[in-house]
């Protein structure tokens, strides 16, 4: 296996992407084959469903282009596209700026409260997105405590209207802060201080050295992350549906939803057409990103020398930065969690008042601990999350490393792993339902089928994480190992994986936390006996009172925090030993 590749331009990378099979390294060919088997069937399903009428029995009818036609000519498409752009860009901007600043403070300064920030981010990641959104609405809604407070001071009732574009951007953006923070932390932590020191020696001011070197070298990681958030927001549904629709702000997903679900029988054609367009947009973005990675060597910071990130002494200012961390901790973690806890003890929610404290009881929790509920599904859920993460992380680590090293054909790996991100989750669920139910062996309805589908779904997340990690490793280290006689496999296992470890550990946890809270994909795939908690939670959301939902959310949060804490302790131990 070729570890080091010749430096190649865009054209070269694109040429490598062409199916010249003999030119592709055998390992890449195997990985591509695996991905094709996993991704092509749902992709074909998507394409076919976008080009055919869906008959009432769910089978495909005559060929049609009308879904594409209605997408581009319908009066809803352009305004929603415009809104989607503002919404996605705004959310990505908020998440990146706040998350990066937080990561810088935590990783590069002597500000106290580092563990608090990590702890807060992990708890927030454990809150299912739909609950998180509900929590913010309880808080910022017309009858929420914030509006009450403003009314008390200014006498102006309901001054804040959260059902607006800024409301959507704020809630979605803040929701992504923990993810950004954890990823950027991993990037800054593995950055060699000698680059900055060299800049200072060369006459740059510390601020300029920091800006041009540290931020500059973080650019590919920031871009990769920004794209992940942008795409994820592009196809997000919870915030647009809960916040946007109520304010009559339509984005693409809610427009599609309204078209698909306007009558009882679901018609997936338009969603399919939309997803295909999204695939094209993302492909363009990926090509652009690959161009950026062409100069990847400029960003490699993990070298053969021992290094530690340079910690900046902020002096008195560190109290300011600590206050900032505290404010973030409050807004990203404590307040949403607190309002959920508060609601979980109430018989119904009607804003925060002294009266409501008098009504508190444990009734909602007794419903949860009643027969069945979610005790049945806890084990399934943990197996699902752990298996998905354990499949996705090593796989994407290998893919990302090959892509960064520009091994022949590897750019295809990048494209393939990103594809599932743009499949709308509900379509992916329907596609896998149709695939699994037709398998000649009994896969349909099993937990294994859910694990396979969710591994495909979260490949992209694992890939973005691993990519950012792999980008920073200088090929010299691997070269030295190779020269010393290590085989390609042992270079990857003994050099690359350990160097990528901090990133991969976060990636594992992220994939775990995301896959256990996914609803749309498992919804149709689970059968009697393979239920998972997220689906039960979704059912509560659909049918139960918001207070019961909150109590299950609190329990969920505790469980996920416990899982994350155990995980962190184990890995910390491992890191220290290593």
């Amino acid at each position: 296996m070729t570890v080091r590749s010749e430096s190649r331009g865009t054209t070269g990378a694109l040429l490598a992407a062409l199916p010249k099979i003999p030119a592709i390294s055998p390992l890449v060919a195997v990985l591509i084959a695996i991905l094709l088997v996993l991704i092509v069937p749902p992709a074909i399903f998507l394409l076919r469903i976008s080009l055919h009428e869906t008959l009432p029995d769910g089978s495909l009818g005559p060929f049609t282009l009308r879904f594409y036609e209605s997408l581009f000519t319908g009066r809803f498409f352009l305004p929603s596209l415009y809104n989607t752009m503002i919404y996605s860009f705004g959310s990505a901007l908020i998440a990146i700026v706040i998350g990066t600043v937080q990561a810088l403070i935590v990783e590069r300064t002597n500000t106290p409260g580092r563990n608090l920030a990590i702890f807060g981010a992990i708890i927030s990641l454990g809150v299912p997105h739909i609950l998180y959104t509900v929590a913010w609405l309880l808080l910022l809604g017309r009858s929420g405590p914030l509006n009450d407070l403003i009314a008390l001071i200014t006498q102006q009732p309901q001054a804040i209207n959260v059902y607006s574009m800024w409301g959507m951007i704020l809630i979605e953006g803040i929701g992504f802060v923990p993810l950004t923070f954890l990823l950027m932390s991993a990037v800054f932590r593995s950055m060699d201080a000698s680059f900055e020191e060299a800049a200072i020696v060369a006459g740059a001011s510390p601020l300029r050295a920091f800006w041009e070197v540290t931020i500059g070298m973080g650019v590919p990681a920031i871009c990769a992350l920004a794209m992940l958030i942008f795409i994820r927001t592009f196809e997000s549904f919870e915030v647009p549906a809960l916040v946007g629709l109520a304010g009559n702000i339509n984005v693409l997903t809610t427009t599609i939803y309204q078209s698909a679900r306007r009558t009882g029988a679901t018609n997936y054609g338009e969603s399919g057409a939309y997803a295909i367009c999204l695939v094209l947009i993302v492909t363009v973005l990926l090509i652009w990103q690959n161009n950026l990675a062409r100069n990847a060597h400029r960003y490699q910071t993990i070298t053969g020398k021992g290094f530690r990130p340079r910690i900046v002494d902020l002096g008195g200012w560190r109290y300011v930065s600590a206050a900032l961390l505290l404010v973030l901790f409050l807004f990203v973690t404590v307040i949403p969690a607190a309002i959920l806890v508060f609601t979980s003890f109430l018989p119904f929610y009607e804003g925060v008042s002294l009266e409501s404290f008098g009504r508190m009881s444990l009734d909602n929790y007794s419903v949860l601990f009643g027969p069945g509920s979610f005790r049945d599904s806890i084990l399934n859920t943990l197996i699902l999350g752990a298996s998905t993460a354990t499949i996705v992380v090593p796989f994407t680590a290998l893919c990302a490393w090959l892509v960064v090293r520009q091994v022949k054909g590897a750019v295809l790996l990048d494209h393939l792993t990103m594809l599932p991100l743009v499949f709308p989750a509900i379509i992916l669920g329907v596609a896998f339902l149709n695939i699994f139910v037709n398998m000649p062996f009994p896969l349909y309805g099993t937990l294994l089928s859910v694990i396979i589908a969710s591994s495909v779904r979260y490949l992209s997340y694992g890939m973005r994480y691993a990519y950012a990690g792999a980008l920073q490793i200088q090929p010299d280290l691997e070269g030295q190992a190779s020269v010393s006689g290590a085989s390609g496999a042992s270079v990857f296992r003994r050099v690359v994986l350990p160097l990528m470890a901090p990133t991969l550990i976060n990636s594992w946890l992220l994939v775990f936390l995301l896959s256990v809270q996914a609803v749309s994909v498992p919804l149709l795939l689970v059968g009697p006996g393979s239920e998972v908690m997220a689906v039960t939670l979704f059912e509560l959301w659909q049918n139960g009172q918001v207070t019961e939902l909150a109590s299950m959310g609190v329990l969920w949060m505790l469980l996920m925090t416990a899982v994350s804490a155990v995980f962190h302790m184990l890995t910390r131990q491992h890191q220290i030993n290593a």
């Binding site: 769910g58 069945g372 339902l433 059968g527 009697p528």
Partner: protein, 365 residues
């Protein structure tokens, strides 16, 4: 993709998936076994029990809530018929239809009985249904039966508005559909989109009650009220938003939901309007079902007094007149409240939903 699954493969799947008790899965016996579904033989009941004993299992897909309805149903059913293992899966009506359609196309049918609001007409549209007969329907009013025998009704839903009692003073509560046009409610009404029992049902109710011309005139005025499109979550969730004070009034919600919260002290109430729309949840046995005897046994259990009582305890309105709903819910039954009822049958829903969705797209979206 494996679209063209061979029969052999399908049988392999069948054989493996079936429990130990029913290891044979021959096409002949499946076809013959389906005869029980339309049988009116004198020893019919005995044949069902015997057949179900051999089949040993039954799978229900239902839109009913698991904890309150499906689990208690399964427990009671298995207590009465310990030789049949009942399992269940919950999904929305649309999801049930999607799942069962896919199973049927793949010759890999897992569900034996499916139930939910709107299941009947969607299943017929998707060609999933087959006729079945049960003497239990004798206990049901005519309108809850299907003349072709494709479905039976299981539970009734009544629709009304919900209002927040703090935000809507008693003397201002809208009592008629025309009261909703009062300018004071502009931007304060919300309704649920993205489901056939949401906006399409509301619009269909008005169209059926007033005729097309008057209905259109009404919609034109209602459109100026800027009704808020609530797109995430169920009717129950919308009622929660009303309680929270986000929306003062919600249209077309299940009339009993506000009552349940009101009993806990929540500032919310239902207001029936003339006419009160009502629909029935329906139940079908899919074509080529694997456990036809057990499916029929379960269907009859759900229609029995015992089964209907379980639904009543789970806050549903039973279809059997001899099983009353909970007392706390009685006030929204139109006949008791003295408000005219408009029962919208499966056929009518089928006929009107698409055109009502178009009205929504043209005037309200």
């Amino acid at each position: 993709m494996h679209r063209g699954t061979s029969r052999r493969k399908a049988f392999t799947v069948c054989a493996v998936l079936m429990s130990a008790g029913a290891s044979t899965c021959a096409a002949v016996s499946v076809a013959a076994a389906q005869d029980i579904l339309t049988s009116r033989a004198a020893n019919r009941e005995q044949m069902i029990i015997e057949g179900a004993r051999k089949e040993g299992r039954v799978v229900l897909y239902s839109a009913a809530i698991v904890n309150q309805a499906q689990r208690p149903l399964a427990q009671a059913f298995m207590k009465k018929y310990p030789f049949v293992k009942m399992s269940f899966w919950r999904g929305d009506t649309e999801e049930i239809i999607a799942k069962v359609s896919a199973e049927m196309r793949a010759n890999n049918l897992v569900a034996d009985l499916i139930e939910g609001t709107g299941v009947g007409e969607l299943a017929i549209g998707a060609k999933l249904a087959q006729p079945y007969f049960t003497p239990m329907i004798e206990a049901l009013p005519e309108r809850y039966r299907d003349s072709r025998g494709h479905w039976t009704s299981t539970r009734i839903s009544y629709f009304s508005i919900a209002y927040n009692t703090r935000l809507v003073p008693p003397d201002q509560v809208p009592k008629t559909y025309d009261d909703l046009l009062d300018p004071r409610w502009r931007g304060k009404l919300a309704w649920r989109i993205g489901t056939s029992s949401g906006t399409p049902l509301f619009l269909t109710t008005i169209r059926l009650a007033r005729g097309e011309a008057k209905a259109t005139e009404y919609f034109r005025k209602l459109a100026t009220q800027k009704v808020i499109n609530f797109g995430a979550g169920s009717a129950r969730t919308l009622v929660d938003r009303v309680i929270a004070g986000e929306f003062p009034i919600a249209l077309n919600i299940f009339a009993h939901h506000p009552l349940i919260s009101r009993a806990k002290g929540a500032p919310v109430n239902s207001q029936l309007m003339d006419p009160v729309a009502s629909t029935a949840g329906t139940m079908i046995i899919p074509r080529g079902v694997r456990n036809p005897h057990a499916a029929l046994l379960l269907a009859e259990f759900i229609l029995s007094k015992e089964g209907q009582q379980i639904l009543a305890d789970a806050d549903y309105f039973p279809v059997r007149p001899d099983v009353p709903p909970k007392d706390v819910l009685a006030s929204v039954i139109p006949t008791r409240a003295g408000v005219p009822e408009l029962f919208i049958s499966s056929d009518q829903l089928n006929e009107y939903t698409e055109s009502s969705a178009k009205v929504f797209d043209d005037m309200f979206r």
